[in-house]
Symmetry: C2
Subunit: 440 residues, 2 copies
């Protein structure tokens, strides 16, 4: 088998056989297929696409290029959730405790933030002493004991994905839907859960900018998951407006705690009930309405919040900041970003909001950057709100006053104020299940 | 400027600016742009194409990536000719003397054979003591003295093309018309001639399999040549049947000599008169008909043949084999390939004929292979001829009897015998000049 023939085949619009795909991935990881051949293949895939069968086989090959987690030591059904990345997306910290409180195990590996998006692991590390790097034994024990654990990725998982992603990043082949699907789903399959809920963010702050692309990506990913024997659902959710009010690590943990206690922002609460409901549905807890009601119940009766405390404790974290969020370390400086116009906020560029928060110290420009856990933004007004001159758009928090000027200028670029009240878009645009697409 | 942005632009169907193209080629030659980015770009070009302006600028950048020959020390108009490569294509050895005999200089660099196609330099080296590697001074002197010189490529010409071609070869990006045009024309521009005649072979033995592709390639190349200030014409000629009867190095020289003496095969003679006529036309010797008549005249009056002898002598070759071709070293073994069917030869796969000749020792499998100059094939019957069982298709020549079995089996695969007399296609399908395409 010669890679050049595989490239030519794909270039000509033919499908690659399972043997060819397995050859390609395994030899690439071994360094026997050079980057210059793989990048030509990736570009050919950008133009010619891949069938559901091809993406499934490639996903499986990438998933098995390194360690695959065996979760069989954890009893019961294990449900995973993946978000394609957003700004102010603290949902994992809310829905994992909800799902665990309903008796379904959550053994989740999360990522760190990069660029304008945050990462759950960073948010968790804003809790003093919280450990996000556990051995497999410890991880299983925490899940068996508390019902949930969220940790960072460890070990040699999906090395093919790491190599492919680095190559795509420098060869203009990032935005190919089948390649995105392979990248996401290979990691989910290697993570070993039984069911997968995908939160596909769409809009200005997301990787997928249009609903059509989001639906196409969701269909590909659901097909891959189901072909791998895992029940999979995708929700397409709005990322044209940051979720909730908080952007920044401890600020988001505080908002997550409030939401688990029933005092969260409406949009965040609704999205979380939908996400958690769908996770419970995937785990076979009943129809979707029943599952959403179960999620609401464990918020109302405090059981979900209990699960969060139990996990933080089991992972060595200081539960006092969870029990009383005023105990979190505060940023020494704050700054109000005020409107110089009167009118409705008609649009917020979520990506710019994320970048602005990152500039305050809450995010990473490169993987080597350090994070200021207390830095970030609390939104005071969002799309649809009416502001007067001098009204606050947001409060910014940082460790140095000098950071506010550039960050607030960037933030102001994100906000459009107009005279007409904008129509609000739904929080959840669509739901994709095997052979089924519902738009809302 | 970042290569990844250039790739993304091309992927999205945009044109690259002159600055971007020059950056890309110069940095690639320096090794500052890695192969994996260039191969992604090449694949994007395969799908999105390049405008005439882009191909012209890229050709110029590639031509100037190394040495550019300055032919100003040679007086008068210098005309180059390029063939896209065929089987039994000995036209250079015939038309260069014709054109020189008509007073137009031919200072030509030719290539060596590889795979199923032969190369003029190899054919010339079948003449004992013939030198094909001259210093620039010697090259200019031979042309000034004899009117023509044909040598191998030397020096550091078009290193960007060598690097790009090697990459295309292993990344499934060879068959892109703009990239082929850039590769051919960059070498022609670096070779420094005033006018360029392109012989675009089409058919089973050629790189371009269809007339449409050949016309598209010709138009691109003519546009590049004219944009570079060089008068350029392309003839699209048949390579569905080998040209003439001889395939193999000294066998082809003998056929070239016969043709220059007016005793060549009809098809070869007609193609050569057209090629030479067009070269004279490009050099401003008159209208095309006049130029073709001039070409015929110098065959008839022996002046063209004199030019061949003069060049061979000036390059150190043994002219006795040219004056009496019986003096060429003969292969010790011959073999008749006979028909086991009765009927018309309806098709010859020219590529397989070339491979068969190569298997006899006449060609190279790799650049390191050595050549048996006396080996090859003399075709006895061609497309349209009627053969009976036992009639000869061809006589094969080789240095070992053991080579005949595999080579003759391969050759027989090339021949189709049927009951209906096939319609003969024209030898020249089309002629492409600036803003003008004539089909015949």
């Amino acid at each position: 088998m010669r890679m050049v023939d595989l490239i030519t085949n794909k270039r000509n619009g033919n499908c690659l056989s399972p043997e060819e795909i397995n050859f390609m991935i395994s030899e690439y990881v071994l360094g026997k297929i050079p980057d210059y051949q793989m990048s030509a293949m990736l570009m050919a895939i950008c133009f010619q696409g891949m069938s559901d069968e091809e993406t499934s086989i490639m996903t499986n090959a990438v998933a098995h290029s390194g360690d695959v987690v065996d979760l069989s030591r954890i009893e019961g059904v294990k449900v995973d959730k993946h978000s394609t990345g957003g700004v102010g997306d603290k949902t994992t910290l809310i829905i994992a405790p909800i799902v665990a409180a309903c008796g379904v195990k959550v053994a989740k590996m999360s990522g760190r933030g990069l660029g304008h998006t945050g990462g759950t692991v960073d948010k968790m590390e804003s809790i003093p002493n919280m450990r996000t790097s556990l051995s497999q034994e410890e991880f299983f024990d925490v899940v068996n004991k508390t019902g949930l654990s969220v940790i960072g990725q460890s070990g040699n998982m999906t090395p093919a994905d790491k190599k492919l992603y680095a190559l795509r990043d420098v060869t203009g082949t990032v935005s190919s839907i089948p390649l995105i699907a392979v990248s996401i789903m290979s990691k989910k399959i290697a993570a070993g859960n039984d069911c997968i809920l995908l939160d596909v963010k769409t809009g200005s702050g997301a990787f997928m900018k249009t609903l059509d692309d989001s639906i196409e990506l969701s269909k590909k990913m659901v097909a891959i998951g189901e072909n791998a024997g895992k029940r999979t659902v995708a929700l397409i959710t709005d990322m044209d407006i940051p979720l909730g009010h908080a952007i920044g690590n401890s600020l988001e943990v505080i908002e997550a705690v409030n939401t688990l206690k029933g005092n969260g922002p409406e949009d965040l609460t609704e999205v979380c009930l939908n996400l958690a409901g769908n996770m419970l549905y995937l785990a076979g807890k009943g129809d979707l309405d029943t599952c959403k009601k179960m999620a609401q119940e464990v918020i109302d009766n405090g059981k979900a919040f209990e699960r969060l405390i139990a996990m933080v404790e089991a992972q060595g974290g200081d539960t006092s900041v969870i029990k009383d969020t005023n105990a979190f370390a505060k940023a020494p400086y704050s700054f109000e970003v005020v409107s110089d116009k009167e009118g409705y906020i008609t649009h917020m560029n979520t990506e710019l909001c994320g970048i602005s928060s990152s500039m305050l110290g809450a995010g990473r420009e490169t993987t080597a950057s350090t994070i200021d856990y207390a830095a970030g933004i609390i939104l005071k007004n969002k799309v649809g709100d009416y502001v007067k001159v001098g009204d606050s758009f947001a409060t910014m928090y940082a460790s140095q006053e000098s950071l506010f000027e550039a960050a607030s200028n960037k933030f102001k670029q994100a906000i459009t104020v107009g005279t007409t009240k904008p129509e609000l878009v739904p929080l959840i645009f669509a739901r994709v299940e095997k052979n089924k697409v519902e738009k809302f």
